[in-house]
């Protein structure tokens, strides 16, 4: 695939079966984020294709997207709203959940009182926790998490890993980019990206 006309990733192929977790690693600038965005359908591929359940995603966008949870670099939170409102009104567009359950999600990620503060007042780690709280209730089969552990404390990392494990056991699949090793019991496959030298 190309970025700004510059070949960025090529000769890349992998396949996910139910319960599979792929960890994408690689140096800064190796194209991890671009790969995630391409998988989510945000960036077109110059060459090659993404298949979902055996069919090209271009032929079934709405079905594919209904089964997708993407949490990118930018968290997708309105900073002017509180954590609770964000889950209800922003994340709720993807996964409609009753308000009580969202509150429980936020408690589970360790945001009790902070849930009623506007998101811009929260720390980077807390903001990420708000976005990741979706993991607890997301009905999606495919999780694409771009650097989910950035700014998280060990407790929160453990919570995210527990969610991943639950998701995989239920037959879900996930692609995670991260520099830090995931705990061994998740059985993640490693996908190493190399920085491509251009000309």
């Amino acid at each position: 695939m190309e970025l700004d006309d510059r070949p960025l990733l090529s000769g890349l192929g992998f396949c996910l079966r139910a319960g599979d977790l792929v960890q994408v690693c690689g140096a800064n600038g190796s194209g991890k984020t671009t790969l995630m965005r391409a998988l989510a359908g945000l960036v077109p591929l110059a060459d090659g294709e993404v298949l979902w359940r055996g069919r090209r995603v271009q032929r079934q966008w709405s079905r594919f997207r209904a089964e997708l949870l993407f949490i990118g670099h930018r968290l997708g939170l309105k900073t002017g709203l509180t954590a609770e409102e964000n889950l209800r009104l922003v994340a709720g567009v993807k996964a409609p959940v009753v308000a009580r359950d969202w509150r429980q999600c936020l408690l589970a990620v360790g945001l009790g009182a902070a849930a009623r503060m506007p998101v811009w007042q929260l720390s980077a780690g807390q903001q990420r926790r708000v976005a990741l709280a979706q993991l607890a209730v997301s009905p999606a089969t495919l999780w694409l998490l771009d650097e989910p552990f950035t700014a998280l404390d060990p407790q929160a990392v453990a919570w995210v890993e527990a969610q991943l494990q639950r998701h995989l056991l239920a037959g879900g699949v996930a692609v995670v980019t991260s520099h830090q090793p995931l705990s061994a019991h998740l059985g993640a496959r490693q996908l190493e990206l190399n920085v491509q030298d251009v000309d």
Partner: protein
């Protein structure tokens, strides 16, 4: 999720945001009033002169106020990644854009429409024309926002996007400006205004169909940058 609850969520979100930071809604209104206040100072305070140009002045000011507000239509959503989430959601993007633009038009354009008779009064516009002025604004304002949403979507990711947005959108505003000011002029002369308003309505109907599709396509393109 059905389309109606989805629209409900978007409306509620935009409403909450507008209530929390009213500047986004109030700034265009203040701008609108200030621009109009410059005309008597720049041209002449004579009531007959002002009454002659009032319709055009109010509309040009409204055009500029709308343009000013358009840049923030998608920008914040993009910076926060909310736009990305909409792009990967299974809902039809044109519908989401349509709802968002209409809510935005109501929040930003609504106060302008409400304020316009007061400004008409200040520009010595005969009171008999206020009805036409408001009706033309009600029909024309959503068209401005819909057309503008295409420009806003095309420039959302760009540095120096603001000025480019003006260049892209302003030429497309010509028909609305022409029909709307003609309606006000006709009302002043005591001529029928139904035809002008019907043309504005037809434009609105066309843009309700065309603009969300174009803006949604544009958002997908700019998200690649």
């Amino acid at each position: 999720m059905g389309l109606v609850p989805l629209a409900g969520l978007i409306c509620r979100r935009e409403w909450l945001l507008a209530v929390r930071s009213p500047a986004q809604v109030l700034n265009p209104l203040v701008f609108f009033v200030l621009v109009i206040a410059m005309f008597p100072l720049g041209i002449s305070p004579a009531p007959e002169v002002l009454a002659r140009i009032a319709g055009g002045v109010i509309w040009v000011a409204a055009l500029l106020a709308v343009l000013l507000s358009l840049e923030s239509l998608f920008r914040e959503d993009r910076d926060e990644g909310v736009l990305e989430q909409l792009l990967v959601s299974p809902h039809p993007l044109p519908f989401v854009v349509l709802v968002k633009v209409l809510v935005y038009a109501l929040l930003v354009g609504g106060p302008l429409v409400l304020m316009s008779p007061v400004l008409g009064l200040m520009l010595s516009l005969p009171p008999a024309t206020y009805g036409t002025l408001v009706a033309a604004l009600l029909l024309g304002m959503p068209t401005l926002f819909l057309l503008g949403s295409v420009g806003a979507a095309l420039t959302v990711g760009l540095r120096r996007g603001g000025l480019l947005l003006v260049l892209l959108v302003l030429p497309l505003y010509v028909p609305v400006l022409v029909f709307a000011t003609a309606a006000v002029d006709a009302a002043q002369l005591g001529m029928p205004v139904r035809g002008h308003l019907a043309l504005l309505g037809a434009l609105l109907a066309l843009m309700l169909v065309v603009a969300p599709v174009a803006a949604a396509g544009a958002l997908r393109v700019t998200s690649e940058e």
